[in-house]
Amino acid sequence: MNSALVKKDTFALWKKNLSSFWSIYRQNSMGLIGMVILLIFALMAILGPYLVDITIMTVDGVTQVIHPPTSEYWLGTDDLGKDILAGVIVGSRVSLMVGLAATAISMVIGTVVGIVSGFYGRVVDALLMRFTDVFLVIPWLPLMLVMAALLGPSLGNIIFVIGITSWAGTARIIRSQTLSVKERPYVERARAIGSGDTHIMFYHILPNVFPLIFANTVLVAAVAILSETTLSFLGMGDPTQVTWGMMLHFAFSMGAVSFGAWWWLLPPGICVVLVVLSFTFIGYALDEVLNPKLRRRDQ
Amino acid sequence: MRLLEVENLTTYYKLKEGYVRACENISLHLERGEAIGLVGESASGKTTAALSLIKLLPENAHVMAGSIKIEGRDISGATEEELRHIRWKDIAIIFQGAMNALNPVRRVGAQIVEAVRIHDKLSEKEACKRTAELFDQVEIDPDRVREYPHEFSGGMRQRVMIAMAIACNPKIIIGDEPTTALDVMVQAQVLQLLETLRREREMGMLLITHDLSVVGETCDRVAVMYAGQIVENGPTEKVFSDPAHPYTRALIAAFPNIEGERFLAASIPGNPPNLLAPPGGCRFHERCSEAYGLCSNEVPALTNISPGHSAFCHLLQRRVKV
């Protein structure tokens, strides 16, 4: 068969699937709200530094330290006189970046382990799943904290630590889907015409577990963002970088709570909640779109 | 006085898009000890009609009209609390074998004891004794009352269901495809058991099925449903030997011959109509090979063919007139 023709067909199929996916998705108000919030934050992360005057970030006069919101500093200032609003906007960039990078690592590990485990079965499956279970049962935050403490505070380490500890759930889900995809006739056919294992896993199984990967990515992303915030808050973050978690860390350790400096503590936290919530909303919506069983039930 | 008399029972399901007219103008009657079969394709409204009798319907279902009388007492306006006492005591149900109609985390015996104690003033001990007797009657070792549903085979679970259904000596039993999804051998045994118990206790039965051979074996009369309506109603042998409605004829033709050689089942062309917006006139006209002009415009009236045998079809009117 002409391979160009196949590619074109595949493309058309994807386009068709995508448009039918969208027509269902957009009926889901939760999913739309989530998407809108996420887009706003994405825009903020990309355009933010061009919109706000970052120079305010430098140390200002002593009088402006830990000051409640004014017309000049809409969200007030911190202990060094830095503008909180500027911090929140600049922080969105690193926070989102860390979250997405960690999610990427986690998804790659989870998908590879899941597909390999489901595809080969037997001993490989038993060993990999035992290992996965270990990661599922080990309390996640202490493990991350220990690893982060040993590796030392840096953005790269935070990303690595979150990615390497959060893949187990994905691996389990992908594995069970792989088990069912493996039994489908086209995989048998591919095997019959002599396709290699790698080829089958990459061209036949991966495309079929992709919707699941997609839905799971969103949920892992929510966890990753929460993890970054928590790790930074507990002092494992990179002190030279501005993230929402680091802002909260400094606020807390400088005694913002006892000052009652709500303008310092609320904005970064609200940003985290909104981003996590938007991922959760999108996750719910995807679940409904990709699980027709759930959708029909509402009727 | 008739055991059960249903007139013009109409139940709709409410959806965002409008009402699904799942069951319309259903009229039926049942005498003591009589069995009537309700047959039709899947989604023709058989189960909705049966469950409407004791209002065991999903929340979006609305019984729009109709009267239901048990031994002359009208229960169509009964409150939920009154219905609770009618359920199982007057009308019990045996659900499909494929369903998990038994609670998986409770012992089967306890589930029967519960039904007994809701309706009959019995002590726990007496109820347990009756349950053991019931197990004996459905030919299961009474020691198995302490087991869980998953420990029984499909046929055995249906026997438990039957034991539960007759536990309070109901007047009427609704069998909703009671033997579907069972092996043919088991199917025959379960059906045989049900027949014996029913005759012993003179219970009336409404048997919902799509299996005409089951109707032929057990039912005195049969009602054929199509797209939410009864299209033909009559004594079983009359309907089977001389079907009056084209749909009944098609249904019988589509069924592999019970006796002689198996011939290729003639399936009915087309699909059942969408009950959100059923076709005007006779609902079967789009798939009917004998339809003519009038069929798509006018709803056919009830035509009596012989005593107790009637059908809704314009062709019959013409036959009578001509």
Binding site: D133, P142, T229, L265, G269, V273 | R87, P104, V105
Partner: protein, 323 residues
């Protein structure tokens, strides 16, 4: 499979997991970048002589395998090393703080399960109404909040602005109370905020799982059977729906254990609650590696043990698992 075989299998699985964790715990602290000895003593200007002595003391000049063997041997005799910070055996420091954490986690878990299940039932019963929608939204929002941040907000509202509850801690040591009642109320005042915060954090998920599980169960065929039998609404819920709907909740309790441990670290940090979580935070900030290592190991073993118990409980509650 019989109960004993099942127990044995689960026990072996848990043991393997614990062994892997012990192994990880040993190597994590040695494979990480840098000379472990430097990490261990944190003094860059230490003399070569002293360095050698410490190296010998920790058995670091032996091969990795021998080191692992020594580690295992010490572990089995309950020796988790000595804290850099407190100059005390890690085991003693950890055990001293267990009661405070167990009290906090226990109360919050029990509260959140009871309230969460109740709310879940109510929301499922009133599905689609305003109560349900508001309840669901609040659950989702709570579920999306960083634990420590909720704790901070609670402190700000109740301890800084309104000053009805203390900022944190577990009561002043050595305080004299007029009566046992006074002591109890004082203790309760200290316990209140951390416990409520923890409950708020945990409750969302129980509400969500209970609601969806109950809605699913109510659609099951056996619920129709129960209604057909004339079972009243109360028994429909208590005897038929709940025993089935609670099963996912039990699973969630097991899955949540790790999350609960994570939560206690954050809550104890914010509220200066003198338990294991606070100990972990101080060990982190002081880079007190022996404490960190020992704590991590004990917490993980506790979670694995609790998981094992949840498995047994589930098997007891769901007869289908037995065959």
């Amino acid at each position: 499979m019989n109960m004993r075989g099942y127990l044995l299998r689960k026990f072996i699985q848990a043991s393997i997991t614990i062994f892997i964790v012990v192994f990880m715990n040993f190597f994590l602290f040695r494979i990480m970048p840098g000379d472990p000895i430097r990490v261990l003593i944190r003094n860059p200007k230490i003399s070569a002589d002293a360095l050698e002595r410490v190296r010998e003391q920790f058995g670091l000049n032996e091969s990795r395998l021998v080191q692992f063997w020594i580690y295992l041997r010490d572990l089995f005799s309950g020796d988790l090393g000595t804290s850099f910070n407190y100059r005390q055996p890690v085991w003693d420091i950890v055990m001293e703080r267990v009661p405070a954490t167990v009290l906090l986690i226990g109360t919050a878990t029990v509260l959140s399960i009871i309230i969460g299940v109740l709310l879940g039932v109510i929301f499922a019963w009133k599905r689609g109404t305003r109560v349900d929608i508001v309840g669901l939204s609040v659950s989702l929002v709570l579920y999306s909040m960083p634990t420590f941040w909720v704790a901070i907000i609670m402190v700000m509202i109740f301890a800084v602005y309104w000053q009805i509850f203390p900022l944190g801690g577990m009561g002043m040591p050595g305080t004299f109370y007029a009566s046992a009642w006074a002591e109890l109320t004082s203790q309760l005042r200290y316990m209140f905020l951390p416990t409520i915060t923890f409950t708020l954090i945990l409750i969302g998920e129980y509400v969500l799982i209970m609601r969806s599980s109950l809605l699913e169960v109510m659609r099951e065929d056996y619920m129709l059977t129960a209604r057909a039998k004339g079972v009243n609404n109360r028994n429909l819920l208590l005897k038929h729906a709940l025993p089935n709907a609670m099963l996912p909740v039990v699973t969630l309790i097991a899955i949540n254990l790790g999350f609960i441990v994570g939560g206690t670290i954050q809550i104890e940090t914010v509220f200066s609650w003198p338990g294991l979580g606070r100990l972990m935070y101080t060990a982190l900030t002081n880079r007190d590696y022996p404490v960190l290592q020992g704590l991590f190991l004990l917490i993980t073993i506790a979670v694995i043990g609790a998981n094992f118990c949840a498995d047994i409980l589930y098997r007891y509650l769901d007869p289908r698992v037995k065959s």
